[in-house]
């Protein structure tokens, strides 16, 4: 081994604590890259592979009842490669031995092979007789079914017992979420594949279909196809065809991938920036300390390039350590993520791992980052004239300036003056140290606000807006008298009818397909609540929009929009926007119930009923009776919905805040420890002289620790502001049509962040200050700087 390489390794061994402190910051950046970029790619690739092999459709359409005879017209649309027509319906399920009702999405299974959205059989066989059914695997597992078990399905008012002949997964239901649910509830929502014959007979659909999937030829633009499909289906009660972005399961996957990508843009740059600064600070100091060695190497005949490379390689070792740790931590995080995904997403195979290419280029980024940091120092080493390098460095020039006069006026002690003077002498370094710790605070603020935001969401969505224990969805033909029938069921306390209509809201080029719900003046269970918790009633003259819907449509209060209803009478009306309200889930639109009925020239109706139950004991009795209620299509247990949402959340929030707490601590330790070490190295002589002059250990420690701790204090408000900025950036990045995260910044969030950073800074500084105890006064004074 070359002597120079040996020096490199020994130097690194001597500096390993500092090197490690920097490497950990870099490692945090690399780990987050691996997790966010890696897992978003993994999820994307896994999904693509699944969609590809199982021929996930590109366009999804539905109609009330369209004859099969129009299929050739649909197939003839330019760009359409394949189509598949099915009959689908929601139905209430009755699972033997279980009081709770469940809801199923029934899908007709055509004879022969499926051509699109091909479900993958996981066990058993496809229904061969009309009394067999295949259910989706998660539903099967959650209910502890076995093949051959029976369950009853309310098939359009006729209860029928079916035998489970197999289980399957489908690319349409990677994220399987029932109507009105917030997250997958596999126990109470299932996908059921029945023979086409049963479905046709039960729903009066022989020779007809109500659901259509279309696969397009490569490079076909989707919009014209959607328009033509709509035109063909329109006479048969079509809803607006959706592309993949409007397919629910796919949209959830999109939202998850987007979240990961936002994380990749926001977090790693922070860690990399701090790494650049730390490497730069430490390497500059090393080059300063090794001036005479550099001079010597030049005298011996080493070239400038060899010397610059020597110092770049020292930084390279930090990169190697950081990348190594980052890979390990990142792989672990990615694995944890993959496990989480396995829990929420129903893929037929494991979610792919982080692609190797991401490992490769994350290492490249690591090396580039430390090299960038070391560049200035390496240049300085290369540029150092050999003759100058051999001479001791000139003492730094201190000048009396405004600051000094201010310090004199303040009657600061000499040690305090030394601290302030050093701050003013190296303003860039002080500034970067401050920024580093401010970023640590920011990372903590930007992550710790999540629990508060979630609390706000839960409070607003569950305890203010939707206070019902249960939501019942009815067939449109259900009479309004159903409310009274529900009221008479045992255990029922409050009952409120409501109407949902699917509608296209259009403002010029902007349009969204959303549910419009009716709100009655007396509504108490399903209300619209504004930011202050005040229930607001939609003005009878128009429509009330959720804020994200209003901004997606580019409308504000007073504008007029076109509302094209896709259920009910399917009329189109011009309606003014009379209000905008902040909401976190979905894209809600609301109209006054009486106004809605008047607009449709109809007597009161209902599509769903909200209700509360007297007490948990009553639920069982109620549930066993509701299963057979006529024209009931689906039941949604809101209490369970809330609970599973809260459970998942509290689990994840603990993990997330712990991880971010560690990240914030790593940054702080990296910055504070290194800044203080460099201080000690630069001022060892000065501090030793002070000790010889009679200053106490405490006073000397104060001078050493003071600068960094002062910077840590100033960093707090800066970090709060930065953190608020980052948090707002993340909330807007995370926002999708499905949900939004509010920006809720409580004083406690800032306090917690500051506590962690100040604590970590103090410990780091104290670790270095302990070295003062071993300061060999005589040796320090003897050594030549």
């Amino acid at each position: 081994m070359h002597a120079l390489d040996r020096k490199l390794l020994r130097d690194f061994k001597r500096l390993w604590v500092q090197g490690l402190a920097i490497a950990l910051v870099l490692a945090a950046g690399i780990a987050v890259i691996l997790m966010s970029v890696g897992m978003s790619r993994a999820l994307d690739d896994t999904r693509a592979a699944y969609y590809d092999t199982n021929r996930f459709a590109h366009v999804f359409a539905s109609a009330r009842r369209a004859p099969l005879s129009i299929l050739p017209d649909l197939r003839a649309i330019e760009g359409v490669a394949q189509i598949e027509a099915q009959v689908r319906a929601y139905a209430v399920l009755d699972i033997p031995g279980r009081a709770k009702p469940a809801t199923g999405l029934l899908i007709s299974r055509p004879e022969g092979e499926a051509v699109l959205n091909i479900p993958l059989l996981r066990s058993g066989h496809w229904p061969e007789t009309n009394s067999e059914v295949v259910v989706n695997r998660p539903f099967f597992d959650a209910n502890g079914f076995a093949l051959g078990d029976e369950l009853s399905v309310n098939l359009n008012g006729r209860k029928r017992s079916l035998t489970i002949s197999g289980t399957a997964l489908s690319p349409e239901f990677v994220y399987t979420i029932g109507p009105g649910a917030l997250m997958p509830q596999n126990e109470t929502f299932g996908i059921l594949w029945l023979t086409a014959e049963v479905m046709d007979a039960s729903y009066g659909m022989s020779g007809a279909f109500n659901t259509l999937g279309l696969a397009l030829l490569p490079r076909t633009s989707v919009a014209p196809v959607k328009a033509q499909v709509k035109a063909v289906l329109d006479p048969y009660g079509a809803t607006t065809p959706q592309d993949r972005s409007g397919q629910q399961s796919n949209a959830f996957l999109d939202a998850e991938i987007t979240q990961l990508r936002v994380l990749a843009y926001v977090l790693p740059p922070v860690f990399l920036l701090i790494t650049v600064f730390l490497v730069s600070m430490v390497m500059s100091r090393i080059v300063q300390l090794e001036r005479s060695e550099i001079g010597l190497m030049k005298a011996i005949g080493y070239t400038n390039l060899e010397i610059a490379l020597h110092y770049l390689m020292l930084a390279g070792l930090i990169a190697a350590l950081g990348v190594g740790i980052g890979w390990l931590a990142g792989s672990w995080l990615a694995l944890a993520m993959a496990r989480l995904y396995a829990q929420y997403f129903d893929f037929p195979f494991l979610v792919f791992g982080v692609p190797l290419s991401v490992y490769a280029w994350s290492a490249g980024i690591g090396v580039a980052t430390t090299s960038l940091g070391a560049l200035r120092a390496a240049f300085a080493a290369a540029r150092l004239a050999p003759a100058v390098a051999m001479a001791p460095p000139a003492p730094p020039r201190f000048q009396t300036n405004l600051g000094d006069r201010a310090m004199a006026a303040l009657h600061l002690s000499q040690p305090s003056r030394m601290i302030l003077r050093a701050l003013l002498r190296w303003p860039l370094r002080a500034g970067m140290t401050l920024l580093g710790m401010a970023l640590a605070v920011a990372v903590l603020v930007a992550s710790n606000f999540f629990p508060d935001a979630m609390e706000e969401i839960i409070d607003s969505a569950f305890y203010q807006s939707n206070r019902q224990d249960m939501l019942l969805l009815f067939d449109p033909s259900a009479p309004v008298s159903a409310v009274e029938d529900v009221r008479r069921l045992p255990g029922v306390m409050q009952v409120e009818p409501q109407q949902y209509y699917s509608a296209r809201l259009i403002n010029g080029p902007y349009e969204k397909l959303v549910p419009i719900s009716s709100v009655s003046a007396s509504a108490d269970l399903a209300r619209v609540v504004d930011g202050t918790g005040q229930a607001i009633a939609p003005d009878p003259s128009g429509v009330l929009l959720s804020d994200r819907l209003a901004s997606a449509l580019h409308v504000t209060v007073g504008d007029s929009i076109t509302v094209s209803f896709e259920s009910g009478l399917r009329e189109t009306h011009q309606v003014p926007v009379t209000g905008v309200v902040t909401q976190f889930f979905g894209l809600g639109a609301y109209m006054d119930e009486t106004a809605l009925n008047r607009m449709f020239r109809q007597s009161p109706r209902l599509t769903n009923v909200n209700l509360t139950l007297a007490d948990p004991g009553a639920a069982e009795e109620f549930e066993s009776q509701i299963k057979d209620f006529p024209r009931l299509v689906a039941t949604i247990n809101m209490t369970e919905n809330r609970q599973s949402f809260l459970d998942t959340l509290s689990q994840n929030i603990l993990v997330v805040t712990t991880i971010y707490g560690i990240l914030g601590t790593i940054i702080t330790v990296g910055v504070a420890y290194n800044a203080t070490r460099v201080q000690l190295s630069e001022r060892a002589r000065e501090l030793a002289s002070l000790r010889i002059l009679g200053f106490s250990k405490g006073e000397v420690a104060y001078i050493l620790a003071g600068e960094v701790l002062l910077l840590a204090l100033i960093a707090q408000p800066v970090g709060w502001a930065l953190g608020a900025g980052v948090a707002s950036l993340m909330t807007s990045g995370f926002s999708s049509d499905l949900y939004a995260i509010p920006l809720v910044l409580e004083p406690g969030t800032f306090a917690r962040a500051s506590l962690i950073v100040l604590g970590a800074a103090t410990v780091s500084v104290a670790l270095v200050a302990r070295r003062l105890n071993n300061l060999d006064l005589i040796a320090v004074m003897k050594t030549r700087e």
């Binding site: 002597a3 020994r10 010597l296 005949g301 004239a385 050999p386």
Partner: protein, 238 residues
């Protein structure tokens, strides 16, 4: 037929001016000098007289402000940094007052620093043997006395078999006894290998062991004296 001794260094009006603020310091103010191969030259002069400056320029560590100088037949006045690095690597050995050993490398590794890049070096063991430190090879600088460290520095300087050895106050940080050992080593190298050697010193007594004694004052040559008989370092009175 008698041959003129070969010339190693020649300077013409060598000048070095430093500008510090408004003050101009003439570290060298026109030095004309010739040094001969295989000689041991001692450079004397008061502090600030320009000795180090002259040595640094001859060694290719610094550029003159004016004037010209040659190493053998090669003019180095306008040489680029790259050429000077090459020149140092191939021809020059340096010894400094503060040894300038790399603290994280052992004696052997400090010498190896040179042998790694030299063209036809001796082994680090050979070089250390020459300065009588074979038993200290694997010690770190912090584990050695000042004299031992300086001898390691000399071993490092001679390991590449340089044509010239430039020593800036090699005994400056040493007591007289260790100083004598170091001088002995230098003289031994000079005699055994015929290495042209220049030694800067504040100790006028050392001049007895030199072939040639040059005295600088205010950046100019005050006198040049050639010794006919040389003293052994042990006989020098400090």
């Amino acid at each position: 037929m008698s041959q003129d001794p070969e010339i190693v260094f020649r300077t013409e009006g060598l000048t070095k001016t430093y500008q510090t603020g408004d003050v101009q310091v003439h570290a060298l103010a026109g030095v004309d000098l010739t040094l001969y191969a295989a000689e041991l030259t001692v450079l004397l002069g008061q502090s600030g007289s320009g000795k180090s400056t002259l040595l640094n320029i001859l060694g290719g560590l610094d550029h003159p402000s004016k004037g010209r100088f040659w190493f053998k037949d090669r003019e180095l006045t306008e040489a680029s940094d790259r050429a000077l690095t090459r020149y140092r690597r191939d021809h020059v050995g340096f010894v400094f007052q503060f040894y300038n050993l790399v603290p994280s490398l052992t004696a052997r590794e400090n010498v190896q620093l040179v042998t790694d890049v030299a063209r036809a070096p001796m082994t680090p063991a050979e070089a250390l043997d020459l300065v009588g430190l074979s038993h200290r090879m694997d010690h770190f600088p912090a584990q050695m006395s000042g004299g031992e460290q300086q001898r390691v520095a000399i071993a490092r300087a001679i390991a590449k078999r340089p044509e010239v050895l430039l020593c800036d106050e090699p005994t400056g940080a040493l007591d007289s006894k260790t100083g004598t050992q170091v001088l002995d080593t230098l003289r031994h190298v000079n005699e055994a290998f015929g290495t042209s050697t220049v030694v800067i010193t504040h100790n006028a007594a050392i001049q007895g062991m030199a072939h040639r004694v040059i005295r600088l004052a205010d950046g100019q040559i005050e006198s040049v004296r050639v010794n006919d008989t040389r003293l052994a370092p042990a006989d020098i009175v400090w």
